[in-house]
């Protein structure tokens, strides 16, 4: 550290002295340069050597003390950037991997959802068909029972009507016979019935 301070102090001292020498000859050179144009572009030998020395000294100081620190900082920065880039690349790869996995998961979920919906539709169709068939069967059974009941009631009603008609007819005939037949006609009927009557087998 002490060495560094000494070197810097030496360099700064050279820089302060050498330009003063250069500026001391600046007045004479300016008079000479003003004589020709090219002289304005070429450095004077008395100025060039101190400047070179100052440059070399500065270069050595910088190369010895500033450059390694600068390069260390650059390397550190490079390493940091490289590390960041690597981490970013890794994160990118990981995110791409996760993305792929997520996409696969989404596709699988969509597929499962589609299957569930398809199954639900099939089940719904099946249940609907079953309910419809059952309802139709019940309706047909109800209709059949109703038809059978109506048919039975119809037969009963017709039988009752026929029986009533027969009763009424016979009743009318009986009344006509009872009212219209004289005793002699009754006796003629008895005579005919005796002739037609069957046997009395008492044995």
């Amino acid at each position: 550290m002490k060495k560094l301070v000494t070197s810097v102090a030496f360099a700064l001292g050279a820089l302060l002295v050498l330009p003063a020498l250069a500026f001391a000859h600046e007045g004479e050179a300016a008079v000479e340069e003003s004589a020709s144009g090219i002289g304005l572009l070429l450095p004077k030998l008395g100025e060039w050597i101190p400047m070179l020395l100052a440059f070399i000294i500065l270069w050595i100081v910088l190369a010895k003390f500033a450059w390694p620190a600068f390069m260390g900082m650059i390397d550190k920065r490079t390493a940091t950037i490289k590390d960041s880039l690597e981490r970013a690349e890794s994160a990118k790869i990981e995110s791409e991997h996760i993305l792929v996995e997520n996409q696969a998961t989404i596709i699988s979920a969509k597929k499962q959802a589609a299957e569930i919906i398809a199954d639900a539709k099939v089940a719904e169709e099946s249940v609907r068909a079953e309910i419809t068939a059952k309802a139709q069967q019940e309706a047909q059974a109800t209709l059949a029972r109703a038809v059978a009941t109506i048919e039975t009631e119809k037969k009963v009603a017709v039988a009752e009507l026929q029986s009533s008609v027969a009763d009424l007819s016979i009743s009318v005939v009986g009344r006509l016979i009872g009212a219209d037949l004289s005793d002699d006609e009754h006796r003629r009927i008895i005579e005919r019935y005796i002739a037609e009557a069957g046997d009395l087998d008492v044995n």
Partner: protein, 187 residues
């Protein structure tokens, strides 16, 4: 009244024998059979009368008076036997007594008694026709117990010993009614 059948038969035979012996002298065996048949029909067909005749709570004299008033004109011997049956609570035996009496009367008379039911009274030719037909058929002379019943509407019903020939208009109309109902029901 006894519940033993053999005893009931014997009791019935005693009543029949008593009645038959009583009416033989007056030659009213056949006539009494008709009266007995009529009495059985009346008593059997009237629940209240049957109960009254068998009710011990009703004085015997009153029950006999009922018989006398109900069967006015009937043979005295028959009324006497009926009175004894009431007194001994044997009215339930009346149907058995009637059957036994008919059998005894037929045996005594040498004839078979036919119950003939018509709407109008039979005349002589009809009686003769019936006698002739059934005498030939049964191999014995027949005696007719005639009954009038408007409910048969016409024709004739003949019965004896549990056998019955129903040639009445009512039964023929009933057959016709059944046939008519059957034919119409079959469409």
């Amino acid at each position: 009244m006894s519940t033993d059948r053999t005893l009931q038969r014997k009791e019935s035979a005693v009543y029949v024998q008593t009645l038959l012996e009583a009416v033989k002298a007056e030659n009213r065996v056949f006539e009494v059979s008709g009266q007995l048949e009529q009495a059985v029909t009346i008593i059997r067909g009237n629940f209240e009368l049957r109960n009254t005749l068998g009710d011990q709570g009703v004085p015997l004299a009153a029950r006999k008076n009922i018989l006398a008033e109900l069967f006015t004109g009937f043979d005295e011997a028959l009324l006497a036997v009926l009175g004894i049956m009431v007194e001994r609570e044997d009215i339930p035996l009346l149907s058995r007594v009637n059957e036994a009496y008919v059998e005894a009367a037929e045996e005594y008379l040498g004839s078979i008694i036919l119950d003939v039911t018509t709407v109008v009274e039979l005349d002589a030719p009809l009686r003769e026709a019936i006698r002739k037909k059934y005498s030939a058929q049964l191999g014995r002379d027949v005696l007719l117990r005639e009954h009038l019943d408007p409910s048969i509407m016409g024709g004739i019903v003949i019965s004896t010993h549990g056998r019955r020939i129903d040639a009445s208009v009512a039964s023929q109309l009933e057959s016709a009614r059944a046939v008519l109902a059957d034919v119409t029901s079959r469409g």
